[in-house]
């Protein structure tokens, strides 16, 4: 057995990393920092190329023989199709303004997690193959050949980007590394290199309409059981209309709201709200998913998965669509839906049946965010609240990347929280609104085998939460994203265990005074309310 070194000897070991340039450093597939590969069955369902059994730690990734040509052609096609990609490849001046803005870089200290270097992984190959200087000067012009090691590096680092777009806020040229990542992932798909946590949900969505693979009767059963929980807490009986034709509004939310803790409490909040105002709405067992893991796959998959929203709205003959608290669903709706599947001329420009407000901002997509809808109801005095029912909580708000940076939704959720809660505290300025820090697990990286990386990526967010926890006693982190509700819960358990996570409409549901309700003694989680506990 080797002799245990003495502390003196230990102190002499060199712990400094090698000084080789980044191009020479091969990827080390350390457990906890990469995700399992896409399963052949999921690739087949999605009609993606090269379905096979493999794992990133295998030496041989079983790539097609002509994989270089496939990537080269795919790159060329995309440079032609997406002008933004060409601009992002050509424009970066390497000023470094984005370098320390990525949560994965801040948490890991790995230089290839700097957005500028992440994009450079692709750009270096672009230079080699698509620029004259790169072709002639090679490495001197920052160019390099596409090899299997480079491909492995792409896989590693483009699945260490949550496409959160924080870096783009700081880039003087508006270079959006998230879009570079999207393109890199598309290229990797061409040779069958991808992760299961994105593909399997997308495949399930293809066959059942939602990421969890829930069949209609299961979806219905779950909603009914949540209605029973609502009745236990409030005494109010609610029947949720499913696939009802001719309703005013089709309500679509992430399937996690119907199934996963703590999203279910947010869902209970939505239902109480609809009941409170007597909304003529329906849900669909086919458009039973707001999320769209196609966004993390490729354009075609995103488009297909998104199209069912309009298809259902048409089939059911509703006037417009109301969307729940999801993050990336709103990126798709706000930035891509209209171009991909619009215009939805068969729908009406959304108008609140309660207040008469016309949502001009949604005139084209015909889809309204629930916090806009609720904030409008509050503004018009249509909701009755008792905010004391949230007094047992000290709340802060996490701006989820997509609603914040992809649609600029900052005020409505805050306005609602302040109406339904008495204790609200903001996190530091440079960690909220446009500058918000990602949960570290978005874009389909919320899987358990990736835990170390998720904890690194979530460190900046958690540090700000820890600050308000210590300073103001914050114990509830609210947000408007289903991925956040799941992943921030885990993140908090590691970094700030005293803090729980909720959606905004859970707080609304707690505070809403329903006609004919029982006196509330607990919140929607069945936890006793301060000063209102049951005496029995």
């Amino acid at each position: 057995m080797a002799k245990t070194p003495s502390p003196q000897e230990l102190s002499k070991i060199n712990h400094e990393p090698s000084n080789d340039g980044w191009m020479e450093m091969p990827v080390d597939f350390r457990p906890g920092t990469w995700c399992y590969s896409g399963k052949a069955s999921a690739l087949e369902t999605l009609e993606l190329p090269n379905p096979r059994e493999w794992q990133p730690t295998d030496e041989d990734w079983k790539l097609p023989d002509n994989w270089e040509t496939i990537i080269y052609e795919g790159f060329r096609e995309r440079l032609k199709k997406f002008r933004s990609l060409k601009i992002f490849m050509d424009t970066c001046v390497r000023c470094g303004a984005c370098a320390d803005k990525c949560h994965f870089f801040l948490g890991s200290g790995d230089p290839k997690n700097m957005p500028v270097l992440r994009a450079e992984l692709l750009r270096s190959v672009y230079r080699k193959d698509f620029t004259t200087a790169g072709k002639i000067l090679g490495k001197l012009a920052g160019a390099r050949k596409l090899t299997k090691d480079v491909l492995k590096e792409w896989f590693y680092y483009f699945y260490q980007c949550t496409e959160c777009r924080r870096c783009s806020v700081f880039c003087p040229y508006g270079i959006d590394t998230a879009e570079v990542t999207m393109m890199a992932r598309e290229l990797l798909h061409l040779v069958g290199v991808n992760i299961n946590w994105v593909l399997e949900p997308a495949a399930k969505c293809f066959t059942t309409g939602n990421h969890l693979g829930l069949l209609p009767h299961t979806f219905k059963d779950s909603i009914e059981s949540l209605c029973e929980d609502i009745e236990d807490v409030t005494g109010i009986h609610i029947d949720v209309p499913l696939n009802k034709k001719g309703a005013d509004v089709l309500f679509i939310t992430p399937s996690a709201d119907v199934f996963a803790d703590p999203g279910i409490y947010t869902f209970m909040g939505y239902l109480l709200l609809f009941e409170h105002i007597g909304l003529n709405y329906t849900m669909s067992t086919y458009a039973s998913e707001g999320g769209n893991f196609g966004l993390f796959t490729n354009n075609e998959t995103m488009k297909k998965l998104n199209s069912k929203m309009y298809a259902e709205a048409k089939r059911l003959g509703v006037k417009w669509i109301l969307g729940g608290e999801c993050g990336h669903m709103w990126r798709v709706v706000h930035q891509y839906m209209d171009t991909m599947n619009g215009p939805a001329d068969f729908l009406e420009v959304p108008k609140s049946p309660i207040t008469g407000t016309v949502f001009e901002n949604a005139a084209s997509t015909k889809m309204v965010h629930i916090t806009e809808f609720t904030a409008d109801l509050i503004k018009h005095g249509k909701l009755k609240f008792d905010p004391r029912r949230n007094d047992h909580r000290h709340v802060t708000f996490h701006d989820s990347c997509n609603p914040a940076r992809a649609m600029g939704l900052f005020e409505e959720p805050r306005y609602i929280i302040k109406q339904v809660c008495n204790n609200f505290h903001e996190m530091p300025e440079n960690t909220i609104r446009e500058q918000t820090f990602c949960c570290g697990s978005g874009t389909g990286l919320n899987t358990d085998e990736y835990m170390e990386m998720r904890m690194r990526g979530g460190l900046p967010r958690a540090s700000a939460v820890k600050h308000v926890h210590q300073k103001h006693g914050v114990d509830l982190l609210s947000c408007i994203c289903a991925i956040d509700r799941a992943t921030l819960s885990t993140l908090m358990q590691y970094w700030v265990p005293a803090v729980e996570v909720s959606g905004v409409h859970e707080l609304v549901g707690n505070a809403l005074i329903m006609e004919g309700e029982n006196e509330r003694t607990t919140d929607l989680r069945d936890e006793p309310l301060e000063g209102m506990e049951d005496d029995e």
Partner: protein, 176 residues
Amino acid sequence: MKLKSCLKEKRATILERWYQAIIDTYPSESAKHFNNQDPFANPVGFTISDTIGFLYDSLLREEDTEEEIAQALDSMVRIRAVQDFSPSQAVAFVFQLKKVIRAELSGVIDSEKVSEEWGRFEERIDRLALVSFDVYMKCREKIYELRTHEFKSRAWRLLERANMVGVISEESSPNC
């Protein structure tokens, strides 16, 4: 007491060097970005300087309990426990303090008069290293616990048992 007063006098320089030695465990392209001391824009750099300042004073104070020391070490070790370090690399920063002090106070330490005091001080650093290893292990256990917890609590697993899900596969499914 002579050593202690030198250590107090040289506090700023020693901490600066210690900080640098720790920052140097990160790749050089990254290290320079850790000098920003905004706790939110740079949680890693801030936590390191905050923690080592406390630890240094604690070594001189000689009155903190093991629990208090563990608490002080927590934020920094918690970070290193999820970064690209082996267990020994993750806690090696404690031993680096010896190296730094030796370099900074070589004349003082080599003198006969303080050798006993230095020996005792070194022992306290070793104790710190042991505590940091305990903290490290707790963090790693937490990671595994979180993994298992997520895996188990996946709604679809329960549904699978109830035979209620249409498309099911063995090892994975989303939770949103």
